[in-house]
């Protein structure tokens, strides 16, 4: 898609289009479940895939405007996290064969994208060229956000796990509980996602640390918050591998950690130094 095609709509309009399709996927799935049926995985996959294309268009247009990966404000951080989760779902979610994963992915990404678009303050400041001319720092930030996408998928898997345990313990396995994957499958997926997330976020911090070590004065609260998020996830992984954090406790821990990770995004954004181009007037609307 070239620049001219992208500018048919504003970046926010593209992003709203993506969010609307994610929401449609969620609503369609909800209706199917309420009727006692299984959400159509093909329809769900198509809605999410088309939503993903629209979101990509919005992020690409935004990227052109800010001259880099669009990670300059809360809207962009939440959009990028949702984008990462969708990327993972589209490319590796199928191999997990978890039938309700698409439904929950649509639910989470609809929530993240609609929330980010609905709060004007989150998009009031648009920082351009925030990574200067250092591609490694941009890579660090993008990789960190991508790992948040992995953690988002882990949180969804954890919700499925909690529901599966609830269904087995309450002895209600019929209805839409019958569409849930097995306990063991969800547990295996959860461990693999946690491992992937910890490795990605660790790599992101390693890349970032090379830059920050040269100039320790520039180490901001954002970097420290991200490091703490990594430490918490790494500790959960270590405890899971040692058999100290299992089953429901493991799932709940992953859910709480993701909530903390999400809440840390506005803190990271608030801790950033205003970029030189922050007031440079990045256009919000179509020129």
């Amino acid at each position: 898609m070239n620049r001219a095609m992208l500018e048919i709509l504003t970046d926010r309009e593209w992003l709203w289009g993506g969010a609307a399709l994610y929401l449609a996927g969620f609503l369609l799935g909800t209706v199917s479940l309420l009727k006692g049926g299984r959400p159509s995985s093909i329809v769900m996959y198509c809605l999410i895939a088309v939503g993903f294309v629209l979101q990509n268009a919005g992020l690409a247009e935004r990227g052109h405007a800010v001259g880099g990966c669009p990670l300059g404000n809360n809207l962009e951080l939440f959009q990028f996290t949702a984008w990462s989760a969708i990327t993972l779902y589209l490319f590796i979610g199928v191999t997990f064969r978890t039938s309700l994963l698409g439904y929950f992915t649509a639910c989470l990404t609809a929530a993240l994208t609609i929330l980010s678009l609905s709060i004007p303050a989150w998009d009031a400041t648009r920082r351009a060229h925030i990574f200067g001319k250092n591609p490694w720092i941009e890579f660090h930030a993008a990789l960190a956000l991508f790992s948040y996408g992995v953690f988002a998928l882990l949180a969804l898997t954890s919700i499925l796990f909690v529901l599966r345990i609830y269904s087995l313990q309450s002895k209600r396995i019929g209805g839409w509980f019958s569409f849930l994957p097995s306990v063991l499958d969800l547990d295996h997926i959860g461990v693999r996602l946690l491992l992937a997330g910890v490795v990605l976020l660790g790599a992101s911090l390693a890349v970032g640390s090379v830059y920050w070590l040269r100039d320790p004065a520039k180490v901001g609260a954002g970097m420290l918050i991200t490091a703490w998020v990594w430490v918490a996830y790494a500790a959960a992984l270590a405890m899971r591998i040692r058999g100290k954090l299992l089953a429901k406790r493991f799932a709940w821990t992953c859910l709480v950690l993701f909530a903390v990770a999400l809440l840390s995004l506005p803190l990271i954004d608030a801790s950033r130094h205003p970029a030189p181009a922050a007031d440079a007037g990045v256009p919000h609307e179509r020129p």
């Binding site: 087995l168 002895k171 396995i173 849930l180 306990v183 063991l184 499958d185 058999g243 299992l246």
Partner: protein, 355 residues
């Protein structure tokens, strides 16, 4: 008249009690002899025999009005069963009703265990056998093939086959909800009761990795283990070895519990990340109720399984009307195709035009 040109006669579980069905059941030798006899029966141009533990049914295309009665007489003579007595249990359907019955049988609507799928395979075998002996023709070929298509359509469009309705299959379904696959699941059968044995067999038929049997009488455990192709374990080692298993099926007649929460907790320390599933089919119960509160342990007793089976049965029953509506459309369409064929047969034999 065309409506008497296609028929189904026989007896099934709806009207014939098990003692009668035992007498009516065709053994292999009698079945072969009867097939040969029916092949030469005057007025019978096509036929197929469905012979299962719950039903003996003859599907036929008659070119004269008495052919169905001749089939009945030949069958009763072969089974040494009084024809008048057979009349008390007989099902006799003609024309469109016969088609409706066939598709309902194929879907499992007519089965004792509503919505079961085994009958579909049995019907296919019956048709294949009839084809092999060349006793089907244009009418029955069309009717059976369309019935199979209709059954597949109804089963995929409704929830008639959703959920298990027997205790053993519910237990297997629960295990699948926990383990995903049984390929690595090690099954431990504690007690040699009938229901436990059935459940163990259900696990084996679904590909369980291994089966071990333990009973208070070691010789009984060894007999059952030999019969099931399993291994036996002394009863006094049961608790010490629990960690080696994934699914424990309990069906002893012990007066008290035979698996304690303490032994289970100790077992889970050896395998904390792998779930353990207890199926307690015994009365009084074999497994201490406190076991259910241990992390990664799931405990289901007989009542729990029976309740799920009953819920599934009710859910299937709620689909009957929907199934029948879908089938009615298919049967109407099929009848419109078959009627001219039957008229042609009737015309050839001078038995009058179709009704």
């Amino acid at each position: 008249m065309s409506s008497s040109s296609i028929f189904v006669i026989g007896a099934n579980h709806h009207r014939a009690p098990i003692e009668v069905r035992e007498k009516l059941s065709l053994g292999p030798e009698n079945a072969t002899a009867l097939d040969a006899e029916l092949s030469n029966l005057p007025g019978l141009s096509e036929f197929a025999v469905l012979n299962t533990c719950n039903r003996i049914e003859f599907y036929g295309v008659a070119s004269d009005a008495e052919a169905a009665e001749r089939v009945e007489a030949a069958f009763c003579a072969r089974q040494r069963f009084d024809v008048a007595e057979f009349g008390k249990f007989r099902m006799d359907l003609r024309g469109r009703e016969a088609l409706q019955h066939l598709v309902e049988v194929a879907v499992g609507l007519d089965s004792q265990m509503l919505g079961e799928t085994e009958i579909f395979g049995q019907l296919k075998e019956a048709y294949a056998a009839a084809q092999a002996r060349k006793s089907t023709g244009p009418v029955l070929n069309r009717v059976f093939q369309k019935a199979f298509q209709a059954a597949k359509h109804v089963r995929s469009s409704t929830a008639i086959t959703v959920g298990q309705v027997s205790i053993a299959n519910v237990a297997v379904e629960l295990a699948l909800n926990i383990f995903g696959t049984l390929a690595e699941a090690r099954i431990f059968l504690l007690g040699a009761g009938d229901i436990g044995e059935k459940t163990a067999k259900a696990f084996q038929s679904r590909g369980a990795a291994s089966l071990t049997v333990s009973s208070r009488r070691i010789e009984r455990a060894m007999d059952l283990a030999t019969q099931l192709g399993a291994s036996a374990l002394p009863f006094d080692q049961r608790e010490a070895k629990i960690a080696d298993f994934d699914v424990v099926v309990c069906s002893t007649s012990a007066p008290g519990t035979v698996v304690s929460a303490a032994a289970t907790a100790a077992a889970m320390k050896k395998r904390p990340a792998r779930p353990l599933f207890y199926i307690d089919l015994a009365l009084p119960r074999d497994v201490e109720a406190e076991v259910a509160s241990i992390q990664n342990v799931f405990l289901y007793n007989l009542d729990d399984l029976a309740k799920i089976a009953e819920e599934n049965r009710a859910a299937r029953a709620a689909e009957i009307a929907k199934c029948r509506a879908l089938l009615a459309e298919r049967v109407d369409g099929l009848w419109r195709q078959v009627e001219p064929q039957l008229a042609s047969i009737a015309g050839r034999n001078g038995s009058g035009p179709p009704a």
